[in-house]
Amino acid sequence: MSQRGNIPILRVGSNLLTTIHIDLHDTIAEAFQEDVLVAIKNTGAKGLVIDITGLEEVDTYVARILADTGRMAALMGAHTILVGMRAEVAATLVRMGFAMDTVETALDVDDGLAMLQARKALGRK
């Protein structure tokens, strides 16, 4: 898929899968969000899995970028599932008072994709 940024977005069945493997900062984050939206538009994907296994720390700035990406995708009719959050990242975010409660989460990519399949089977958007 043609992209502006350097975070790849792949098509997996009727969903999209993206793996964040680099530090998100302003310019990268913006390009990433735009790429996600264009990919949803072009493919009509109803689901998006964002894999953050590679992120060793997630501060409130990055957490907000991830949550915002989910909100943007929702406006385009795609449901986002954030997967691969490390235990220490989850603990740190909650201690800081950040509730990742606007985005659904799952343990890993397989679980995330399975959840999207289950939603599809239920006929939910």
Partner: protein, 137 residues
């Protein structure tokens, strides 16, 4: 009493500088035997404070110190900037307040991640934040 074993001074002028400070903190924490949770706490705190120095303070610097008190290792990081300072400290430390339309959880959250947290700031005089975290044994 804790001794300073080694110290590193790093500038904070760009987003990449903030990332370098965080990476240095991570390397040191791992070298000194901090577990994954303590390491994430320290590096996340460094990321929040480094970003604050850059975004709110207009840039500054970080001093990373490796401390030893005989049994344990500590990592102390001091962030300084010569920005506008913080006028309403109580409100900022309570959390959920931001002058940048962001989340306002950086300072209040960072405080809960480290054992020592100290902030000095006055309007017009810049901001200095010191955090410190120790290994368990």
């Amino acid at each position: 009493m804790a001794d300073v074993v080694q110290r590193w001074e790093m500038p904070i002028r760009t987003e990449d500088d903030v990332i370098l400070v965080r990476r240095k903190a991570r390397m040191l924490a791992q070298e000194r035997g901090f577990d994954a949770f303590a390491t994430a706490a320290l590096t996340t705190a460094a990321s929040e404070l480094g970003r604050n120095a850059l975004v709110h303070g207009g840039g500054g610097g970080a001093l990373i110190e490796h401390l030893a008190d005989g049994t344990r290792s500590g990592i102390r990081i001091t962030f300084v900037d010569r920005g506008p300072g913080i006028a309403d400290m109580a409100r900022v430390l309570a959390g959920g307040y931001s002058t940048a339309r962001s989340l306002g959880l950086g300072l209040s959250g960072t405080r809960r991640l480290v054992e020592e947290f100290d902030i000095e700031s006055a309007p017009g005089a810049g901001t200095k934040v010191v955090i410190c975290k120790w290994t368990r044994y």
